[in-house]
């Protein structure tokens, strides 16, 4: 997968967009309800939050296409993510 920390867009390695990661409630992973699986559930909107660190990008893309309301969790340091900042400057 590829992730741009400034646009917050997550892509497959072939640059198909998976999702823009922008939680409107600014939830934090540690505050979310636990699950037996690696995933968690949002305590505000009940969405499934998929832990992406062991998932192949095409499989993740299909999961999001099937359930667009799902959210994702990433860490910049997980092995299956490359960063694509490309010299951008974010305007605030």
């Amino acid at each position: 997968m590829k992730y741009d920390p400034l646009t917050k867009k997550l892509y497959t390695d072939r640059y198909n967009i998976i999702k823009k990661l922008n939680c409107p409630y600014k939830m934090q992973w540690n505050n979310l309800l636990g699950h037996k699986s690696p995933n968690k559930q949002c305590s505000i909107c009940d969405s499934l939050i998929i832990n992406t660190d062991k998932i192949e990008d095409e499989k993740l893309l299909n999961m999001v296409r099937e359930k667009p309301e799902s959210c994702l969790k990433i860490n910049l340091n997980q092995d299956n993510i490359r960063i694509i900042s490309k010299g951008l400057i974010q305007e605030k």
């Binding site: 994702l72 490359r82 490309k86 400057i89």
Partner: protein, 158 residues
């Protein structure tokens, strides 16, 4: 007991007040006219926040590629480095000042969500030596300032 805690915490998260930020003169004054108390702050860069890039140019077509990750792969027979790894501050703000818009009925001790932080805290830390800024954070109003409840770099959710 845990269920009771999570129910109470969920209610708090759902109902917490969101504090808006105004980032230019006109929007600050507009908010003041509408009854908010703008808490003015300088916009200061945290020197530990940066992104990085390198630019490579095709020897034949003269097109360029920009990379941000040292694990990139490039055919050095066709491409040459024209700018080596360079660190830069990856944000630009409208003005060097901004304001948190304090609602007139805010309570001392109230825990809120600041939607657009003015202060530069590290939100995400990457092991290739770059850090990105934290966009939002909870805070407690003490009557004159916000105590920002910063707890270090975080996972990204959305």
């Amino acid at each position: 007991m845990w269920g009771l805690f999570t129910k109470k915490e969920n209610k708090r998260l759902k109902n917490r007040r969101v504090i808006k930020t105004a980032r230019d003169l006109d929007s600050i004054n507009e908010a003041a006219k509408n009854g908010y108390n703008p808490l003015i702050k300088e916009v200061k860069k945290n020197p530990n926040i940066s992104s990085k890039y390198t630019v490579w140019q095709n020897k034949e077509t003269r097109e360029i590629q920009v990379f941000g990750d040292v694990r990139m792969s490039v055919d050095e027979d066709c491409w040459e480095e024209v700018i080596g790894w360079t660190y830069y501050y990856p944000y630009n703000f409208k003005t060097p000042f901004a304001a948190y818009l304090i609602p007139p009925d805010i309570l001392i001790g109230e825990r809120v969500l600041i939607e657009d932080l003015i202060e530069d805290y590290i939100g995400q830390s990457w092991n290739q030596g770059t850090n990105y800024r934290l966009e939002s954070c909870e805070a407690i109003w003490n009557g004159s300032e916000f105590q920002i409840l910063y707890s270090g770099p975080q996972e990204i959710i959305g």
